[in-house]
Amino acid sequence: MHPIRKKRLTIVLFLLAGVSVAVGLTTYALRQNINLFYDPSQIAEGEAPVDVRIRAGGMVEEGSVRRDPESLRVEFKVTDFTSSVLMEYTGILPDLFAEGQGVVAMGRLDGQGRFVADQVLAKHDENYMSPEVNEALEKAAGKRAAMSGAESESAVSY
């Protein structure tokens, strides 16, 4: 390669490396701001500020959704499978909201570790399935659950 071109190439590569390092360090320093939400473990460890508008997110725990029959108030637990946080929300939930699905909520932590949300967004995962396959999977899972349920029932003595 021509020496002038070699020199230009080196300069360009230095430029690229420099910009990458600068942007890398900046985003690393700002990582807590870039993260969209706190997960339940961070809240449990006290990393999330109390009584400041923040976002919290995770999976809606199976069997934790309780609706108030009188109003639109709903309570559910959000988990990341190590810790969980109790959320409270009054309003219309997005269509995709369901137990076992991801959510991101905006709101405040009160002093007792309860998260009072004023907006709940559903977080979709990267898995796509046709309804037939899902039905078949659920049937299989239901069978397994029924079988293990029967076993544990017979094992329990009253």
Partner: protein, 247 residues
């Protein structure tokens, strides 16, 4: 090898090759895209959770993928401009920047349309959406900077530097969903793993992605040819070409 490389730099040679390639790119691309879209929108199964609204993926994913690829290609062309001072590389950057901007806008727009029923919001400042918006502004910046400097050579260098500086944004877009918590889901397709999607869904998606890439190839050739005619208007071969076509 260097000979081919230098031949590539000749606008006249490129003009001829592009003319031969273009019909193939256009017709194969159009048929692939049409097949992918019709199959995806009309015949692929519904998603178990989102129902029919997921079908926007057949436009969103090809547009978003190509928007990033176009920028990567521009970055390579920018490197060639800076190191080898090849005119054709700059012609490529100028020709495709508006196309990239349109694709990025399309990805953002379809994402918003899908986000409203799925997430519950049009827009959220998460890392993926924000970095994609920065990509759109980078495309605008490239177009504006190129138009602002009238001297061809300094304009080419300035644009190339901007394109290369902006290329750090591409890995940020790609890995934003892994490095940070985002509302946007992680990638369904990974090079090393099986896609987390049945074949009846990803085959039409793949067709429309391939189709859009080919159509982009056609559009890039067409726009580059136009740019070459404008820039080389004073040379003999362009005059002869115009005369031959005129008669």
């Amino acid at each position: 090898m260097w000979q081919i490389f230098h031949k590539l730099g000749s606008p006249k040679w490129f003009f001829g090759i592009a003319s031969k390639l273009m019909p193939w790119l256009l017709w194969v691309g159009l048929s692939l895209l049409a097949a992918g879209i019709v199959w995806g929108l009309g015949f692929a199964p519904k998603d178990y959770l989102q129902g029919n609204s997921y079908r926007i993926i057949f436009i969103h994913v090809p547009a978003a993928l190509l928007a990033q690829s176009v920028y990567m290609m521009m970055a390579v062309a920018g490197l060639v401009t800076l190191v080898w001072r090849m005119k054709l590389a700059d012609v490529f950057v100028r020709a495709v920047a508006p196309v990239g901007a349109i694709l990025t806008f399309l990805a953002l727009f379809t994402g918003a349309v899908w986000g409203k029923p799925t997430w519950g919001t049009w827009w959220i400042w998460d890392a993926r959406l924000t970095s994609m918006l920065i990509l759109l502004f980078l495309y605008f910046g490239v177009m504006a900077l190129g138009a602002a400097i009238s001297d061809e050579k300094s304009s080419a260098r300035a644009v190339a530097v901007l394109v290369l500086v902006g290329v750090v944004n591409i890995p940020i877009i790609k890995y934003s969903v892994e490095w940070w918590n985002t509302l946007h889901q992680p990638a369904t397709f990974k090079l090393t793993e099986k896609p987390s999607m049945p074949a009846e869904m990803w085959v039409p998606l793949l067709l429309s992605v391939l189709g859009l890439y080919l159509i982009f190839g056609w559009l890039a050739c067409l726009r580059m040819q136009t740019e070459i005619l404008v820039r080389e208007g004073r040379t003999r071969w362009v005059k002869e070409l115009v005369q031959a076509r005129g008669n």
